[in-house]
Symmetry: D2
């Protein structure tokens, strides 16, 4: 039984990780930190967890992680990097669900995240935890940069096309839509029910932190730095779900895209290639670790459209973190992650 | 491994039952019937089930239930009663999630359901499957009338008070609110998104089928036929969830209501008595078999208010059916039903 | 053309008042104050108002209200009372949409609002601005306490019954439901989309500020202090709308309730008595100043149920304020308030 | 006072047209037809209209349109074309809110709408009623093809760019999102609340009827038939609103896009060009005839993104129809259409 610690467990990623770990047969959560809720019972903070956790939140200052085999961070940017060196030095594996270790180019990271990085020397060591792209590296990693929600669905939607070289690298257009939990449990006007319900909008057209993260993966997959990626995120009045609509231009118009995707993902437990002509809806993956993808080759043009959906809190965050943990500890990759999506 | 059959699996109760049974370690679903979808793969009808079921819907005419140990009916009123005699004659246990066997008074049933009953002789045999009220009878039953969604939350909210005799029997006022899945997958104008979203209304004030069902249980619990029950249901713009707000007048103003509830439900796995002063929200039980209850004794009056929430598709339907099945077959009552609520 | 000022126009009541006044043919909004948004253009704060207002928010310190005929306050509790003496001294009429002048009993007010009142001497002068109850007093008032959202729908639902003396005063049970804008534009965890969407809950069962306000009106109408009122508010995942479900016991079982309501409200422009058997939905009054009411006498009991719906931001706040203004200045009561509800 | 008739007034476009016309100072609605609701009072069908219409629905067979100056059709495809010849022959102006006269190429129309056209000779006579594109033709038209909801926002978003020739014609990618009322009041499983709430999906990727309609306008504006348009619509869990996100490649990278848009639309009453860097949300135009547009030139690329929002039932349907009517009868273009958007 693995002993797990959780740094920062009061947000939506935190409660989702606790939900998943409660059902995981090989993990026991031993400690949870929170500066703001220290001393409060986890069950009082999240009534949905009543009966599942006897723990209290602890102030991070007083915590000894020594008894943990694995620590997860579900914190705002700039927090996890302060814990990483110490944890690794003690031989504790660390999965960071925030963005601190996602971007290899330190200058790029510092530009987008607006702060200095406290341990740039660990960036090279960190493995980008998208198993469908980096599975073997994840198995041996001690530090995982768990991917962002938009990057997960988007990268999975483009991987077979870039790998096989059948699309142009410019333009690649990603029109992505997210449920409101994607913004976290941040108490701001923009996240109020009365601001976002029954409405729809784009945001961050001029630039969004997930664009360089996606771009980095696309470049890695295609082995080139030439990538004309436009990424526009939108806020949708729903709780969970990412829908990434991806527009590409084919360079090889005879390519059998459906077969390409099925070959790439045939053995993947958490990527479901839908039948030709499908339109996956986000609810079909609600509360599950599945990413469903449909690929449409358009008639009378060289364009193709890829539709990829995931639950941003599961495959886009906590579920993928547990998938990574399973790989790191030699457990079956799907352990604790096989629950059926909740529909409706 | 129990072999299960499902009559009518194309609605929301059906897909929820399939979701729960997919994760149940002691059940294998062997057949599913549907007149309208016969020949279609279950996974094509419900993409959320892709990878979990290889079955096709079968036309009910051609189905042999002999190999089933247990059959569930998730059908409109008036269908299950046609299957019950045959199934029971073959020694197959039967759980009816519809209302065909819920009301013992045949005239009352026929009045509310607007049809004749095809097997009134089975009504006495049918056990009302609310385990917290009738657990021992459920264990030995061969035919279960699975309770309605409103009746489950409401009866659980009143049981300790009626049993201990601390409230007046008139008036008992139940102001109940349901998510839209409570109306089933019925294709009608009233169930359209554009009719019910961002709006709220009462319905059935003059009379609702769940009123006599609730009244029957309250009378059974209190051992009297004197019960002044007003029940008003409301439609809420959300997918899942029942919130029953119950108003009673205390006859014993010194009664310690919190202790009453905690004593009654202390050992119940699926009833959670919240701390004094709580306001449970429906999301705290989403996709789980839990019913959470808070009891409020009002200051400066003899009134009390009970708040009871459940997921109408789980504790109010499919989850309770599986709980009953577990009891009927001597399995642990909570088997396959311990998943953590999905929040947010 | 009346010149109007608005104290605190950055919340939902503020923007709704600005929306209504923009279409009012006899009012010109001359100034709007806001501490937090001083210097910002109103149109930049509320893009929905683009093209309708050229004003900027002004810091309240620098504002001269002298040129105003009428001032509205759409502020948190405890702010409006600081402006009232000065405005009245200058002969400026004042409509307070907050709660500062709603409760006549100063001790009761101070207990519920948790602060001292700065001008209790004005309480007697303030007229409770529910025109259907106090129309003649409103006409001559200089200071209006604009009613709360729950009290408006609830009082209108009970007025004909109490006035005619056909119901018992105890118990009167009000189970009320509100959309999320009822909580204002307060930036708190509890108002986040991801906290309240797709969920339902009660709140304030132990006590809510609108209970004494409702009780005061019911006592005034019935001319007694004996009133056993239970009030439980609930939060509903929708933007606008109040639905008040009211349970009463008839003392005169032969009373013709429908006729009672139609007689009381036959000439009222903003109260619509629905046909017998109706279930008004909140969307049927969305963005309008109408309150729709249906009354149900229950069969086989002495109970009756009243359903009353309104838009909490219009008849429950800004619209009613304009209705009061029209009366105070001798304008047609419905001026600027006749827009058709927005459905769906 | 114009006398208006409405063919098919029981859907969402119908009720919206009735809402707008109720407030129009120069129009009186004289008759409304409906096969299904004949004999029913309009107010009973739409309680939101209570007090505004005394009419009953009439069966279309019995209706004489002679006394009408203008007739609107808010019917499914294939109905309006049967009325057009007769109405025009009687000198009655006709605005078709359905798609019967939108596409000039009869073969293309018949392919997409799956039926023969009953009066192809009228297609040349029909004016495509997008005033910002065809204002002068609208003024003198007797038959208006009122544009579709997606085409309105999309064409307005592209018009300045195509007219000035600063973008490539291929690829032009339109990723459009609609609220559920865009699907009409069609009683189908796909439109149920429990199917579309809290979920998001694309549809019609292989082809959607609005694609050829948009393409036709883009070709007309640019004077070419070379137009590589990809159009993907999505269904969003909200009532009203279209958000069109448009991706184009600039051929002239020095073009000042903001000035282009402001010049084109500076005098337009119903197109609002937002400040540089804006992200309009659909609620900012709710229940109004406004289309708000923001244009973003992306850094380090030749790409631009245009965001255009409208209320699909107003500028995308009923409001635009009234705007066209105003033009056809020499009334002020904005008459009856100046109401402020309802936010939140």
């Amino acid at each position: 039984m693995l002993k797990a610690g959780l740094i920062g467990g009061t947000g939506y990623t935190g409660v989702e990780l606790l939900r998943i770990l409660a059902a995981h047969p090989e993990v026991s959560v031993e400690l949870i930190t929170s500066r703001g809720q220290a001393g409060k019972r986890v069950e009082d903070h999240f009534p949905s967890l009543r009966g599942h956790y006897g723990l209290q939140f602890q102030s991070p200052e007083n915590v000894k992680f020594d008894r943990c085999d694995i620590v997860f961070a579900a914190t705002p940017s700039g927090v996890a990097m302060n814990y990483a060196p110490g944890l690794l030095a003690h031989g504790i594996k660390f999965i960071d669900l925030s963005a601190d270790f996602r971007i290899k180019d330190i200058e790029l990271w510092e530009k987008w995240y607006g702060m200095g990085h406290s341990c740039p020397e660990l960036l090279a060591k960190a493995v980008y935890g998208l198993p469908e792209m980096n599975r073997e590296s994840v198995r041996t990693a001690s530090l995982i940069a768990n991917p962002g929600c938009y990057p997960t669905a988007t990268t999975l939607g483009l991987l077979p096309l870039l790998k096989s070289g059948v699309i142009a690298h410019d333009p690649i257009i990603v029109d992505a839509k997210s449920g409101v939990t994607g913004a976290g449990r941040v108490v701001s006007t923009g996240n109020l029910y009365s601001e976002v319900a029954d409405s729809f909008k784009a945001y961050g057209v001029a630039g969004h932190r997930h664009q360089p993260e996606i771009r980095q993966s696309l470049c890695q997959i295609s082995g080139t730095d030439d990538m004309g990626l436009t990424f526009v995120p939108h806020l949708t009045p729903m709780l969970r779900g990412i829908h990434s609509t991806i527009y590409v231009q084919l360079t090889d118009s005879s390519a059998d895209l459906q077969t390409l995707f099925e070959s790439q993902y045939g053995d993947e437990p958490f990527v479901d290639v839908m039948p030709v002509g499908s339109h996956p809806d986000t609810r079909s993956v609600r509360a599950s670790n599945m990413c469903r993808i449909a690929v449409h080759k358009l008639a009378e043009s060289n364009a193709a459209v890829i539709l990829a959906v995931e639950d941003n809190l599961v495959k886009g965050a906590a579920g993928q973190a547990v998938q990574n943990m399973n790989l790191m500890f030699g457990l079956p990759e799907t352990l604790g992650l096989t629950s059926v999506p909740v529909l409706p």
